[in-house]
């Protein structure tokens, strides 16, 4: 049998549908529901993965598979599915994550047995995957919007899965409201496009920007930036993200941070590079700036967290920022007429997209495993887990190294590409605007270093040293399927890190389709061992080479050991306890403590609330009790969202006095209206 991408995709979509249906049917029987839902989702993910790989590996020669959903069922509206290279790329991401997370969920969902309905969880999980996949492969506006909204809805249901907790409810509603706003913006934007094209299909929208007036085009761009930006979680539209991602079950968090926020990137790429035509300069500048701000603020706020999942959620904001830096630079290059550089920027952005999907998925799964084992998300209650769950710790470490953009893993490669794009951007223009490139580059460096600091904290406080609570003390390694899920993503992180040129080749059809350029040949030097940077004498890097070189140097320390230290003994002993009876867990660094220097350095931004209370009877020198409290509130919450909320509620309260119950007033309203309308009409 000959497997075609279209068929595999259809299998995948149907698989999710069947999985969802199965979950609803097996509501009362959690074990079969668990196996069925997540098993089927894993298989569907695999099928989608194959479809995407086949499609992308086929190069530019293969045609674009297209077919219609539900043709016989609904005669009036066409739901066309279209798997072009961009869709295939995002299909790759969603399917890969779907596969890994489903495997993980097989073990993870057992934690809900007897507590929550696993059938519902499985069904919604499948539905979410179905909606997301459909959204990525939608070939027309209707299907896109419907899938978009279904995705938001299922994601909302999953976020509020544990709705008995007040925190979850609050986060769920916030998420729901924000996704409603983003849907509104996107619909408006598409209406503007539709007005110009008169047709719903994506093919007809290609380069539609050329037919629009500049004002409308700019309006559409801004609407999409806000709409997709909310979904992606750019600053300052991100406030829902750190609230919603942590409260969802961890497998859902992984899916949301790994894939769902990427739908914003997909939409943005689709619209800006496919539909809106050659952009004006300020689009690129805006995107680059927004990206830079998101990256820096995201990681700074991440550093302030000691809730492991919230920390990861803030890192999603950071990474979305990094992705947007690549895309923004690409937009600027498109404007200045440097298609090759634009392609480089696009590749950097998209490379980081899949990288973030893998390592963030991995990290959320790791956090899920930790949560599963310790029943807490608070890092201040963890510690010492590396001895209790060694494999989880290892996988988390891989993710941490990758997200900190350290060689030789994948985060480094995509940030390296972003640096190259930014550096070369400096020469593309003579205006002062060129300064934005190196400045963003410097901020990217800051982001990377802060991310490293944050993950030293996250990994160090969570896994190293002594357990800080009984929960952590009695933690145990998680089940095989959970480790499999994490292992798969960890392996992908390594592969994407070590073989960048091979991966860039997969992006050829995509860049060809969007910008009309293929870069894999130019980026690949020395038989694909070295990643180049477009210009002949530009920078090069080879993660594989560096990694193997480091391994080759390993004989040096071992040689030193052989020559000098062969006969030495190693003694295990307690760490010096400063004359106490052994070090207690209270005598090791905490997450709050670790990030304190950064909180102090960026005091102006964080404006932390800090308080030391002394309780005493007579003299302040003899305190009976000391309490310390400190917390950081987001500047946007404080400066924008809360005042806006207060303003609206005040307006609402004010207007309610109109409806005071007095019939005389009511009649008066009518006559005043009458009068006003008469004046207005005459």
């Amino acid at each position: 049998m000959n497997l075609t991408p279209a068929m595999l995709l259809l299998v995948s979509l149907c698989g999710y549908a069947i999985g969802a249906a199965g979950g609803m049917l097996l509501l009362r029987r959690e074990r079969p529901a668990n196996v069925w839902c997540f098993g089927v989702a894993a298989l569907s993910g695999l099928s989608g993965l194959l479809a995407a790989l086949l499609m992308l590996a086929g190069g530019t020669g293969t045609g674009i598979p297209q077919f219609e959903l539900f043709r016989p069922l609904l005669p009036y509206i066409h739901f066309s599915v279209r798997l072009d290279a961009l869709s295939a790329f995002f299909l790759l991401i969603v399917s890969l994550l779907g596969l890994a997370i489903s495997l993980f969920s097989l073990g993870y969902a057992k934690g809900f047995f007897g507590r929550k309905n696993v059938g519902v969880l499985g069904a919604l999980f499948n539905a979410l995957l179905l909606a997301t996949t459909t959204m990525f492969v939608a070939g027309d506006l209707w299907l896109f919007l419907i899938a978009w909204e279904l995705m938001a809805l299922t994601a909302f249901c999953l976020v509020s899965f544990e709705h008995e907790k007040a925190e979850t409810r609050k986060a769920g509603v916030l998420y729901f409201i924000m996704s409603h706003i983003d849907a509104g913006c996107i619909i408006l934007g598409f209406l503007l496009l539709f007005q110009a094209s008169g047709d719903y299909s994506f093919t007809s929208l290609h380069d539609i920007g050329a037919k629009m007036s500049p004002g409308k085009r700019d309006a559409a761009f801004l609407l999409f930036l806000v709409g997709f930006g909310i979904k992606a979680g750019i600053v300052p539209l991100h406030i829902w993200l750190p609230a919603a991602h942590p409260v969802a079950p961890s497998n859902v968090s992984a899916l949301m941070s790994g894939v769902i926020i990427k739908t914003g990137i997909y939409g943005f790429t689709r619209v800006c590079f496919d539909f809106l035509g050659t952009p004006p300069l300020w689009w690129g500048v805006t995107v680059l700036t927004v990206g830079t701000i998101s990256a820096v603020l995201g990681v700074l706020y991440a550093l302030m967290e000691h809730d492991l999942k919230r920390l990861l959620a803030y890192h999603s904001i950071e990474n979305i920022g990094i992705i947007l830096m690549g895309l923004g630079a690409a937009l600027m290059f498109l404007h200045t007429g440097h298609p090759l550089l634009a392609t480089l920027g696009l590749i950097a952005g998209l490379y980081h997209t899949i990288n973030h999907a893998t390592f963030k998925g991995l990290l959320f799964l790791g956090a899920g495993a930790v949560l599963h084992a310790t029943h807490t998300r608070n890092m201040e209650e963890m510690g010492g887990l590396i001895k209790r769950m060694p494999q989880t710790a290892f996988f988390f470490l891989v993710g941490a190294v990758a997200i900190s953009a350290l060689p030789p893993l994948n985060g480094f490669v995509s940030e390296w590409l972003t640096y190259q794009a930014l550096l070369q951007g400096f020469g593309t223009t003579e205006s002062l605007m060129r300064l934005i490139f190196p400045l963003s580059g410097a901020m990217l460096a800051l982001t990377g270093a802060l991310a490293a600091a944050c993950f030293v904290k996250a990994f160090g406080i969570t896994f190293l040293a002594q357990p800080r609570s009984a929960h952590a003390e009695h933690a145990h390694e998680v089940s095989l399927t959970m480790r499999l899920g994490m292992g798969l993503l960890a392996a992908v992180c390594v592969v994407l890190g070590l073989f960048p040129t091979q991966f860039v080749r997969l992006l050829d059809p995509l860049t060809q389709q969007i910008i009309g350029q293929q870069l894999s040949a130019q980026l690949s030097l020395a038989n694909g061992l070295v990643l180049g940077s477009l210009t002949a004498k530009g920078g090069t890097v080879s993660t594989l080479g560096l990694a193997s070189m480091a391994l080759c140097l390993l004989p040096i320390p071992f040689g030193l050991w052989w020559v000098f230290a062969r006969k030495t003994k190693v003694r295990r002993g307690p760490t010096w306890d400063c004359g106490q009876r052994g070090l207690t867990p209270r005598m090791e660094y905490t997450a709050t403590g670790f990030s304190k220097p950064i909180r102090m350095v960026f005091k102006a931004l964080f404006q932390p609330h800090r308080e030391v209370q002394r309780e005493y009877d007579f003299s302040p020198y003899f305190a009976k009790n000391l309490r310390f409290e400190s917390h950081v509130e987001e500047v946007f919450e404080r400066r924008i969202y809360r005042p806006a909320r207060i303003l609206i509620l005040r307006a609402s309260r004010r207007i309610r006095t109109l409806q005071a119950g007095s019939v005389h007033a009511y009649l008066l309203y009518i006559f005043v209206t009458l009068l006003a309308l008469l004046l207005f009409a005459s």
Partner: protein, 480 residues
């Protein structure tokens, strides 16, 4: 003769209901009549009868575009009423059933009325027939609500009567015969006296606007909807308001023909947006979910008014919205009625955790909320999208922006309240309610069916309806 049957059958049934001896079986008259009525309207919808131009009552294109929606909504409410009245067996239902049926007959008349006077009489009669319905619960608050309804509604009716006179005088003043059929008025066209026409338009707009519940004439709504049983609310919000809206549309056609279409359109847009904003702001603050529905209804009336104001494509979209609003609003009111019964209260302070107490109703309620706030793929999403498109096509970007902002605020208010009621842990008081509400098929299926219809209308609008709306727009505002 089928069009007259639409009016006659309900009245006959109403008389039968008055004579029917047993409370237990009497409610069955409702679905029976409903079925007949729906069958008739569907028949007429698919095979429209020829319209005699000067007839006072006819199933004309506008009636064809709107009346079936009313009919379907009535059937759903009637089906629900059977179970509902069984639950409320402590109250006598003779008058209630009869009045419901009478309202249906009057609605049929109102929708088909092609004469200004007849239209006024039908609307007036609906208002009166609805009074016993509002008063069904027989509480002090219900009495107060009814009284406000009568007073404010009566003022509206008086104004619309005045407006009718003005229009008639415009015809006379302009040299016409004072014939108050719409056909004749339209035919007189520019011959109508412009000042009188404008005066008439404003009076009629405010008058029928009061009926519709456009802000700031909406003041009767929160009390009335809050106190009335769910079915009555559904009918008021989905059907009675529709009559007033068709009245406005018919008058607007006359004003258009008289050459004052621009002014009329602008007033409609202004009052529509104003209604939406006011409703949205109220929605943000209210804690009572039945009053919330009233404000939501105000908002949707604003949308209809906005659509009507936008002309051609807008009117088409507004007719679409009449359908989606009727169906969805029906579903919302019925499921809200369930929540009210099961939760034992009306505000978020009294009711919470309904997802645990009555999972099915609660979920339906949430989905209804989604539908009514225009989440795709439900009908309102598509009809409001059409209005948005019409606004864009008309070059009214600012209007579109205000429209969207109002929708957003309304959504914020609605979702906040609905989730507060559905999520969380049940209040202690609700658990103790001994007359625990049971989620029988009778109270679950009608809202579900309405929701399903709304969904269907959204993703796959039947071509016969599209064609009916196009015909109605053509008939009202013939292209020059």
């Amino acid at each position: 003769m089928k069009e007259l049957a639409l009016i006659a059958v309900p009245f006959v049934a109403a008389i039968a209901a008055l004579l029917w001896p047993k409370d237990e079986t009497r409610p069955w008259l409702l679905p029976a009549t409903g079925v007949v009525h729906v069958a008739l309207t569907m028949w007429l919808l698919i095979a429209p009868p020829p319209v005699e131009p000067m007839a006072w009552v006819a199933f004309d294109p506008l009636a064809r575009a709107v009346l079936p929606a009313v009919s379907v909504l009535f059937l759903a409410c009637a089906a629900y009423a059977v179970s509902y009245l069984r639950l409320r067996s402590e109250r006598p239902n003779r008058v209630f059933v009869a009045c419901l049926l009478a309202v249906l007959g009057l609605l049929s008349a109102g929708h088909q009325a092609r004469h200004l006077g007849l239209l006024w009489i039908a609307t007036e009669a609906v208002t009166l027939a609805a009074v016993p319905l509002l008063h069904f619960n027989n509480t002090g608050r219900a009495f107060e609500a009814t009284w406000k309804y009568l007073l404010v509604g009566g003022t509206g009716i008086a104004l619309s009567l005045l407006g009718s006179f003005c229009l008639g005088y415009a015809s006379l003043h302009g040299g016409g015969g004072g014939d108050l059929t719409f056909v004749a008025l339209t035919a007189q066209g520019a011959g109508l006296s412009r000042p009188w026409v404008l005066t008439a338009w404003v009076l009629l707009l405010v008058g029928y606007g009061t009926k519709m519940g456009l802000a700031p004439m909406h003041t009767w709504k929160p009390d009335a909807y809050g106190e009335a049983p769910g079915i009555v609310g559904a009918l008021l919000a989905g059907a009675v308001t529709t009559v007033a809206f068709t009245a406005v549309l018919r008058v607007r056609a006359v004003v258009d023909a008289a050459g004052a279409g621009v002014v009329a359109g602008r007033t409609l847009i202004v009052i529509g947006l104003f209604s939406m904003l006011v409703a949205a702001l109220f929605l943000l603050g209210t804690r009572d979910f039945k009053r919330m529905l009233a404000y939501s209804s105000v908002e949707h009336m604003g949308i209809l008014s906005l659509g009507a104001g936008l002309g051609g494509a807008g009117v088409w979209a507004a007719l679409f919205h009449v359908w989606t609003n009727a169906l969805t609003k029906g579903a919302v009111f019925l499921s809200a009625g369930n929540i009210r019964r099961a939760g034992g209260g009306r505000t978020q302070d009294e009711v919470a955790g309904m997802a645990i107490l009555t999972p099915v109703s609660a979920r339906i309620f949430v989905v209804c909320m989604l539908a009514i706030t225009a989440c795709p793929p439900f009908g309102p999403f598509f009809s409001e999208l059409r209005i948005l498109r019409a606004a864009f096509a008309d070059g009214q970007g600012a209007v579109a922006a205000v429209f969207l902002a109002a929708l957003l605020f309304a959504f914020l208010g609605l979702s906040r309240l609905v989730f507060a009621i559905v999520d969380g842990r049940p209040r202690a008081a609700a658990k103790k309610t001994d007359r625990r509400f049971r989620e029988t098929a009778g109270v679950i299926v009608p809202p579900l069916v309405l929701l399903g219809l709304s969904l269907w209308l959204g993703v796959a609008t039947p071509s016969v309806l599209q064609e009916a709306w196009t015909a109605a727009v053509q008939a009202l505002f013939p292209l020059p």
